[in-house]
Amino acid sequence: MKEHTSFTMTVEEAVEQFSTDVFRMAYARTNNKTDAEDITQETFIKYMKETKSFEDANHVKAWLLRVTINQSINLVTSAWYRKSTAMEEADAIAKEIEEKSDVYYAVMKLPQKYKIVIHLYYYEGYSVQEISSILGIKESTIKSQLKRARSRLKEMLKEDIDV
């Protein structure tokens, strides 16, 4: 019989451990520092108000990333955001990523759904199964999104990079 253990992590501890990961996820999604900060803050406030019990720290992290993605989807798809960031985005991206590699620049140019799976797979190191669980999407869909994203990245990078 599986023993149920209750895991406890205060919101301060969660901020301490996962704020950078949450911020990076939000940033990968929005390409905008201010928006990423807003999403990060909202995510931890949601965590504070969330009453479900978590199994361990990894479970907390996965939950936080899921909320971050949802929050950023809400923001990115809002009419206000679409109007207000169209012009700012190009400048912001150029400014922020100028010291980063072509790889990062290429990922930023991917469609949003591909950016998420690439980030979770290559940066967070989650497996396809874990990404499927976090996003609530079928594994086969995740696999095909990864495949298409890789294909686009190869095309953009125009070299035999091992994606």
Partner: protein, 193 residues
């Protein structure tokens, strides 16, 4: 190679120390103002439970109300009829019938049933032309049996113009300022005049 490169780029992205301080302050402040999570606090669980129970109670109340209306007030739906292109209840129809010189057309049997239990006195007749004064008032039990038969659809209302051939019973009752006469024949018909 891609993974390493992408991870290296991401390592450069960090929230400002100032932002993190602000974030910590914000969550602490939110917690003090009624936020829920401090570890897994009792307050959190109780609040959630209460909110859940409240939602459940509201949904259950709504559900019970709907079931109550549908089951116990079925007569409301049964009494709704279409007439002249609009929805009218039988109460409205009865009122209309009164206004139309008591010509009971559509709801004759229903109205008859409603009234028969209260006001009607039955007389037993000997011939078609016999007036009620000549009839013999039915004994209480026999009258009750006849009423029950009418209430349980043993009889059928027929056109008032037709000749009453085999009258058995006769009755009269008041509707508004007029009297309605009806007779019951041996063939299971109710004649309204």
């Amino acid at each position: 190679m891609f993974r390493e490169s992408y991870q290296k780029d991401n390592e450069m992205i960090k929230p400002d120390a100032e932002f993190l301080e602000r974030l910590k302050e914000t969550v602490v402040k939110e917690q003090e103002e009624g936020g829920l999570r401090e570890g897994k606090s009792e307050v959190s669980d109780n609040t959630s439970h209460t909110a859940y129970m409240y939602r459940f109670a509201v949904v259950a109340a709504c559900l019970l109300f709907v079931i109550g209306v549908v089951v116990f007030r079925k007569d409301i739906w049964d009494s709704v009829n279409y007439k002249d292109g609009g929805l009218k209840t039988k109460a409205v129809l009865k009122q209309m019938n009164k206004e139309e010189n008591n010509s009971l057309e559509d709801e004759q049997l229903t109205v008859l049933k409603e009234l028969i239990g209260q006001q009607v006195v039955f007389y037993k007749l000997q011939s078609a032309n016999q007036e009620k004064e000549d009839g013999c008032k039915l004994p209480k039990k026999e009258a009750q049996d006849l009423k029950n038969d009418i209430l349980s659809d043993q009889y059928k209302i027929v056109q008032e113009e037709k000749e009453l051939k085999t009258p058995v019973y006769y009755a009269v009752w008041s509707v508004g300022d007029k009297e309605i006469h009806f007779a019951v024949d041996g063939d299971g018909h109710i004649w309204i005049q």
